[in-house]
C-alpha cells in the first residue's frame, strides 16, 4: 500500500497537475490573468493533432485488427455511462431527468485535454501502451453524446405525449465536424497516409509538453470559474461529478484488463481506456448537448464536468490508474 501511495504521490507532483492546480488557485484568487481564446483554440488543436499523428504513425506500423475489440469496448462504455447517470443521478430527489442525462452524456464523452495529459505521464512512468489507443476517443465520445440526446428525447416525448423522432445522423455529423475530433482524425489520417515524421520530430513532439502545461492552466482557471455556476444547482451534481470519473475509470479499466487477457492489449492501453472513460468533455460536448437537449440546464452539466469532473479525472484518475498499472507490472 505504501508503495502504491508513493507511486501515486509521484504522479501528483508531475508538471501537468501542478499547472492545473496553479490555474485553479490563481482564478480562485480573482487574478486578472487571461489566456486569449484563440491561443486556447490553437493549443487544443495542436495537442490533438500531435496525439492523432502519434496514433496514425502507430497504426501504420501495427495490425489494424488489434483496435477492433478496444473500439467496441469504447463504444459500449460511452453508452453505458449515460444509462448509469440516467438511473443513478436521474433518480435522486430534485434532479430533472434531462439534466441527469445531459450530465451523463458529457461524462461519457471524452476530454481532449485529459487524453493529452495521460499520454506523457504514461511515457514518464515508462508504462508501455499502444499509441493508437488515443484513436479510441471518437469511438466513446460520439456514442455517448448520441445516446444522451436520444434518451433525453425519448423521455421528454413520453412525458409530453408527443412523438418527435430524433435524427441520429446530424448528431454524429456534428460530433465528427467538431474541432477536437476533426483535429484528432486529421492527425490520424496524416500519420497513416503520409510520412509526417520530420514535422513530428521537429515541431509537434518537442512543443507538446509545454503547450500541455499551458492548457492545464487554462483548464484550471476554467474549472474555478465554472464553480460559481455549479453552486447554483443541486449539490448532487457536484457529488456525482466527483464520484463518476472514478467509477467510470474502474469500469473501463476492468474491461481493458479483460481485453488484455483475451488479446494481449497492453495494461498501459487499459489505463488510456480508463482515463478516456473517466474524462468528461469540455470542448465539443457542451455545444452539441446544448443544441440536442435544450431543456437541460447547462449550468448543471457544464459546471459538473468542467469544475469538478475534469480536475478529478486529471488529478485523481490519471495517477490512480498509472499507479495500479505500475503495481501490476511489478514495479
Amino acid at each position: 500500500m505504501s508503495e502504491f501511495l508513493s507511486l501515486f504521490l509521484e504522479q501528483v507532483q508531475s508538471p501537468t497537475l501542478g499547472f492545473l492546480i496553479g490555474g485553479i488557485v490563481v482564478a480562485a484568487l480573482g487574478s486578472q490573468l487571461a489566456i486569449p481564446d484563440s491561443i486556447y483554440k490553437f493549443i487544443s488543436f495542436f495537442l490533438l493533432m500531435k496525439i492523432g499523428l502519434t496514433g496514425g504513425i502507430a497504426i501504420r506500423n501495427s495490425n489494424p485488427s488489434e483496435i477492433f475489440l478496444p473500439a467496441i469496448a469504447a463504444i459500449l462504455l460511452g453508452i453505458v455511462i449515460v444509462f448509469i447517470s440516467r438511473y443513478t443521478l436521474g433518480k435522486l430527489p430534485g434532479i430533472k431527468v434531462p439534466d441527469a442525462v445531459a450530465t451523463g452524456g458529457l461524462f461519457g464523452a471524452v476530454s481532449g485535454s485529459t487524453l493529452a495529459a495521460v499520454l506523457p505521464q504514461l511515457d514518464a512512468a515508462k508504462v508501455p501502451y499502444e499509441a493508437w489507443t488515443a484513436a479510441l476517443y471518437p469511438f466513446m465520445d460520439i456514442p455517448a453524446l448520441v445516446t444522451a440526446i436520444v434518451v433525453a428525447s425519448v423521455y421528454l416525448s413520453k412525458k409530453t405525449g408527443t412523438s418527435e423522432k430524433v435524427e441520429i445522423w446530424p448528431i454524429i455529423k456534428e460530433s465528427l465536424q467538431s474541432s477536437a475530433v476533426t483535429a484528432l482524425l486529421l492527425g490520424v489520417a496524416l500519420g497513416v497516409l503520409t510520412k509526417p515524421e520530420p514535422v513530428y520530430e521537429s515541431f509537434f513532439n518537442p512543443l507538446f509538453r509545454g503547450f500541455l502545461a499551458v492548457l492545464m492552466i487554462i483548464m484550471g482557471m476554467e474549472a474555478a470559474q465554472r464553480m460559481n455556476e455549479l453552486r447554483k444547482v443541486a449539490q448532487w451534481f457536484a457529488i456525482y461529478a466527483f464520484i463518476a470519473p472514478i467509477v467510470h475509470g474502474f469500469l473501463a479499466f476492468g474491461v481493458g484488463l479483460i481485453i488484455h487477457k483475451l488479446t494481449g492489449f497492453s495494461i498501459g492501453g487499459a489505463v488510456v481506456l480508463a482515463v478516456i472513460a473517466a474524462s468528461s468533455s469540455d470542448i465539443s460536448g457542451p455545444p452539441t448537448l446544448r443544441a440536442g437537449i435544450p431543456s437541460a440546464n447547462p449550468s448543471a452539466y457544464i459546471g459538473a464536468s468542467t469544475a469538478i469532473g475534469t480536475p478529478v479525472a486529471i488529478a485523481i484518475c490519471i495517477p490512480l490508474f498509472i499507479g495500479i498499472a505500475e503495481m501490476m507490472l511489478g514495479r
Binding site: A34, D37, I218, P294, S295
Partner: protein, 104 residues
C-alpha cells in the same frame, strides 16, 4: 436617399447563431449582421473574451433590417416559438433610417 426600415435585434446564445441566421434568411430577410456580445441577464452573466472553452457561455447579437414590420414580426414569432423556452434570448425592434438605397 434614405428610407424608413425596421431594425430587429436578437441577442442570443452563440450555439444558436447558425440556426437563427438560417431562420432569418428563410423568412425572407435580405441580410443580417452578427456581432459577438456579452452582458448579464436573467440567466447569469454571459460574456465573450474570457477563456470559455466550449463557447456555451458566449452570446451573439444579430441585427436584421427589414422593409416591413410584418417580416420582422414573422421572424420574431418563429424565434419565440422555437427558442424562447429553453435558451437565453431577447429580441427588440426599432425604426431606423437606412441611408443606402436598397430593397429590404
Amino acid at each position: 436617399m434614405s428610407q424608413q426600415v425596421w431594425k430587429l435585434v436578437i441577442v442570443a446564445e452563440e450555439v444558436l447563431s447558425k440556426k437563427l441566421t438560417k431562420l432569418i434568411k428563410e423568412a425572407g430577410a435580405t441580410g443580417y449582421t452578427v456581432n459577438a456580445a456579452g452582458g448579464e441577464g436573467s440567466r447569469n452573466v454571459r460574456s465573450t473574451g474570457e477563456p470559455s472553452v466550449s463557447h456555451t457561455l458566449s452570446n451573439v447579437k444579430i441585427e436584421v433590417l427589414t422593409g416591413t414590420r410584418e417580416l420582422a414580426d414573422k421572424i420574431t414569432k418563429e424565434i419565440e416559438s422555437k427558442y424562447y423556452a429553453d435558451y437565453s434570448i431577447i429580441t427588440y425592434i426599432y425604426q431606423v433610417e437606412a441611408l443606402r438605397d436598397h430593397k429590404f
